[in-house]
Subunit: 203 residues, 2 copies
Amino acid sequence: MEQQYPSKLLGKAVEEFSRLPGIGRKTALRLVLFLLRSDTEVSDRLAEAITTLRHEVKYCRICHNISDTDVCDICANPRRDSTTICVVENVQDVMAIENTQQYNGLYHVLGGIISPVEGIGPGDIEIESLVERVKAGGIREVILAMSPTMEGDTTNFYISRRLAGTGVRLTVISRGVAVGDELEYADEVTLGRSIINRTDFNN
Amino acid sequence: MEQQYPSKLLGKAVEEFSRLPGIGRKTALRLVLFLLRSDTEVSDRLAEAITTLRHEVKYCRICHNISDTDVCDICANPRRDSTTICVVENVQDVMAIENTQQYNGLYHVLGGIISPVEGIGPGDIEIESLVERVKAGGIREVILAMSPTMEGDTTNFYISRRLAGTGVRLTVISRGVAVGDELEYADEVTLGRSIINRTDFNN
C-alpha cells in the first residue's frame, strides 16, 4: 500500500528527497519534518545551496576537478609542481589525497573508471584529455592512483598503454598493509604484494 | 583538520546538507556529488519542493496536523467520526495509524510530548487546545495514543487530569506483546501488562 501523506506538499518533498542515494521514504520523511520544525532560513539556505551549486559549479578545463572557476585553484596555483599529474577516479579522491598534505603536484580527474560490467569504456571517462595533457609536454611523472580493484587495475593498464612512448615516468600508488592494521587480518593478496614491494627500512 | 572543498559552492552545499539530522559530512558530500552528476531537473525539483513546503504548508487549525489547507482533509471529511479524538505525539503517528485503516475518528497532534529531561512542559505542546476542543462539546471519546514510554505515560497522566470532569470517555491504546513476536522474547513489563489487560477470546 502506498503511503498517504497528510499534505501534497509534504508528499512531494518526501518524494524528491527519496531520489537521493541511500535515502528511503522513512528517512526522507524524517528530513522533511525536521525542515518543517526548523527556522525557514534552514530550508531556504539548503534550497539555495542546491540550486546555486547545480547551476554555477564548473569543472576545471585542465584537470576536470570541480571548481568555481574555469581553471581550478590547484591547477592555477603556481606553487604546485606542474610536472606531476596524479590520476584519480573522482573528486572525493582528490579531496582524500589533499587531506594527506603529502602531494604537491596536479591532478587529473577521470570522472569514472573503466568497468565493462557497468558498460563504462575508456571513451566515457577523461582519458583522452589526459593523453593530450601529457603529449602537450612539460609533464615528467604520471601517478596512477586508482583504487586497487579489478576496475582500477584495468584503468591503470589502459592508461599505461595509451601513455607508452611519451617518455613520461609512470608510477602507481603503493599497495600494502594499511597503517594501523593488524598483519594477521590483512588479506593474503595485499600481504603478498606488500612483501614483494617492500622498501628499505630507512625510506 | 577541517575538510577543504575544491569549490566554495560545493562546500556550502555540503554544509547545508549536513545540518539535517543523521547526515554527516561524508554522506552530505555523497548526496551533493550525486546531485552534480544528475540532471539539473533533479536538483531544481528538490530545491523547489523544499522551498514550497516550508513556505506554503499549513497546520490544521483544529487538529494541528500538517495540511495544505486551513482545516486538514481528515477534520474536513464528513464521513469521519467527529465524536472521537485520537491524541498523538506527532505527524508520523497520524500516518502510522491511518496506515492501519482501523481508525475512522479525528486526531489531535500534540507536536511533542511532556519531557522534563528535555525541558518540554505541558505549555509547550498542544494540550490546551485539546482541552478546549473537548470542552466545546460533541466529543464522546478521547483515545490517548502516546508511545508506551515514561514521557508518554506522563503526558497521558497530565491529559487525563486536565480532562477530568468533562465527562468524556478516556481510553488508551492497548499495550502488549506485538503481533508476530515470540512470547519468550517479550520484555517482562510488556508481558505482565498483556496478562493483566487480557481480553475475552471472542473480542
